[in-house]
Subunit: 398 residues, 2 copies
Amino acid sequence: MIGSHYVNMLQKKSVIRELSEFAAARGKEIGYENVFDFSLGNPSVPVPAAVTETMIRLLQEKDPVELHGYSPSLGIMHVREAVAASLQERFGVAYSAADIFMTAGAAGAIAHAVRAVTVPGDEVITFAPCFSEYFPYINGAGAVLKVVPPDTDSFQIHFEAFEEMISEKTAAVLINTPNNPSGVVYSTETIQKLAEILCRKQEVYGHAIYLISDEPYREIVFAGVDAPFVSAYYDNAIVCYSFSKSLSFPGERIGYVAVNPACVDAAGIVQMCGQISRETGHNCPASLIQLTIAEHLDTTADLSVYETNKNLLYGELTKLGFACVEPGGTFYIFPKALEMDAAAFCEKGRKYDLIMVPGDGFGCPGYFRMAYCMDTEKVARSLKVLRRFVEAEYPRRR
Amino acid sequence: MIGSHYVNMLQKKSVIRELSEFAAARGKEIGYENVFDFSLGNPSVPVPAAVTETMIRLLQEKDPVELHGYSPSLGIMHVREAVAASLQERFGVAYSAADIFMTAGAAGAIAHAVRAVTVPGDEVITFAPCFSEYFPYINGAGAVLKVVPPDTDSFQIHFEAFEEMISEKTAAVLINTPNNPSGVVYSTETIQKLAEILCRKQEVYGHAIYLISDEPYREIVFAGVDAPFVSAYYDNAIVCYSFSKSLSFPGERIGYVAVNPACVDAAGIVQMCGQISRETGHNCPASLIQLTIAEHLDTTADLSVYETNKNLLYGELTKLGFACVEPGGTFYIFPKALEMDAAAFCEKGRKYDLIMVPGDGFGCPGYFRMAYCMDTEKVARSLKVLRRFVEAEYPRRR
């Protein structure tokens, strides 16, 4: 009687997981320092010491019954107030606590937001390249994910294809900027054009089209890059945030949904998230973790290593002749493979202990992702290996 | 386009929440120490100091990138191993790590277990009185919850009604022992009879009927009470556990699913839980919390206060003429109200600052729940107030 639906999900192997298992196994043979594992998006810098100090202080000083007590189902009130105040001060959008719902990272946030604004059968549109887990989040809500093909020149939005895909059934549009896997940040021009189209289509179809903005990389933007706050440009916007990358805190599962207060029934959507939680059995992120991040909303881990690494990799990849859009943020780069079949390309890379992820799973065949959240020293060492790989396997490209 | 389903859920007010809000507001008027708030099942004793010390040590000594890193989707391997070893040693069932899935408390565990063993349209049977949140967990899976009427003489199982309710569509049976709200522990005889019926019905219908055992109160059992480990009596049994009550840790959202290794495709069910998480966006309990409980699996908070409180309350209630099954565990007691309408009874109690929950929401009208997770001093003070309430409002009962 076990659900064939989940059995099917299980049988589709996770490419990234397989690659990282290969990397771990290879690491046992030759030392993990010699495996250039660009497969996993795990932050490589520590959480700020001040965050650790806050956790220890809370554990030492706060009444344990209160500290570890149940959180209200929407999140601890003063935590929601602090999140709203921080967003308001930084981005000039008038959030209040009523617009904030605390979640288990961006994953929990997206799963809730999609359930809150769709009914089964609705369509949600996203843009390639995109995070592969969008499929389960949207399918799990009973909605259908439609993927707009990529604009590979810039990895901004392919607007013509997007306009063609919008229909009466479009309940929401899901974007991810700065983007996993491309590293690209959507420009102000892109966000304005997107908002303009959505406003127009809302009028055409006579219902709200929500813009769900997945922002776990919001704080990892490189020097001089234009990185607009999406919700400042569109009323029916819902932020899905995670502290995983900005605070190097991924295992602690903390993030939030922030509904633009100008959104149709903003507080109602937040209340609905609480009801959705009742069904999925997920009742809030851990209290200790909520209380901790409330004191560190405006700080980040030292994220500078990611830009340093980007510069090294982007420089070498372009020298080696890769077509590659320069990342504006995140810790990913997404070059075009040197042959049509990116999986074959990545497979060849393995011989050189270069672990890279083919773009197929991100809806963008022919490209590959490298996650450079690692020590700069290792990235520097990888450059020679990359060169050796390209010169040996693709000699005519040189 | 917002889901009417969730709007409906939202409109059904939570009686318990309303009561506890009333208690909080009244507390501001007359001092919370003077409000006898028996509404909420919040543990009232602190987490063991050793648990706090473990958390501080992990924060001080462990590499933060590793400590706060992503957990594998089924839980951290050595945590799963430790849970399996502890269950095996304590209860003699041969669990291994492959049978364990780490969850956000029992809520997360039940939501996952039900999705893993049902397909939409299947039926899940439970027994009144039962925890009201079973409805959203089961509805959210697309299954239908059927509630067997209570055996009010003992609050064990009404087996005749149960047998009539089992059908071809029964995919799972959900039990909660020690029970919220009755406080009753199912006896070995009850569990054996239940297992015997399930084995017989599995043969009749030719498919597995899973026994989902919701066990957050497993460690709160009073002296001399027979409290069998359910999974030792039935192969297709799935434990849903939470550390919320045993470690006084409810806000930290930690528990597990433990599938009996003798269960049909035990490891497959655990793998499926991981797939279910991908859809609900719940990727594991917080890493720090997982690592912490792994070191404290065989300890509990000082739970003795609950038995002391039970003795006081049970003694007084029976003296006052209440029909009441003596609780064998938990921190609840579930007497029969002194009039047919338990809501009216509880409403009258409010005048005396006695906050009690009518049994209707637990599928058992005419009864009321008192949660006695509070200082014994306060329970002792409440007895006189109870007496005053009964003597004034129900004089002919005396």
